[in-house]
């Protein structure tokens, strides 16, 4: 059964302006997701690597937050300028070290 082998989750949480936690959507995550989907299509990788929006990843403090799975690393403060490099990394099976805020550890 064909299916994505990797998922890249871009937090799409929106909160009202002035909310103390802020939100990834306020920090441009929706455009990041759109551009990342395009970048994966451009590389012919969108069938095996799926870019998805997600609800709050509880990583608000590093928004716009992106989670690369199953590598299980979190990228922080991701902007449109980072998307092409991020796409290259994930397509080549690498972690984009420059953007890693913390490598997550399984419990």
């Amino acid at each position: 059964m064909p299916k994505p082998l990797k998922h890249v989750f871009v937090c799409s949480q929106q909160r009202p302006n002035g909310h103390p936690r802020g939100s990834c959507a306020q920090k441009g995550s929706e455009d990041v997701l759109k551009r990342l989907k395009e970048a994966l299509i451009k590389r012919g990788a969108h069938k095996r690597i799926r870019a998805c929006g997600s609800g709050c990843l509880d990583l608000c403090e590093i928004g716009a937050a992106v989670l690369q799975e199953p590598d299980h690393v979190a990228y922080g403060k991701v902007t449109l300028d980072d998307v092409e490099e991020l796409a290259d990394c994930v397509v080549e099976g690498r972690v984009c070290e420059r953007l890693v805020v913390f490598p997550e550890k399984a419990p």
Copy 2:
């Protein structure tokens, strides 16, 4: 920095009635997500295990689809009746074998 160590993504994709791919939301995924969040809170595990809605995981054929990361396994046809067992498994660091549709493999 406190952060979730595990994420459980519940596909929240909605499509119009009659759409050939169907959608996880039509198969009850929104209630599954709500109940799963409650189940994690009840177990005091919601700080280390995050249940999130997500955009289409591209697993429509097994909806309602749930992805447990970083274990990287996909659960299929998940219903409200499965949620307590699923929560027990993820809290105990196990995979809920009964619900696994396929263990995903990293590329």
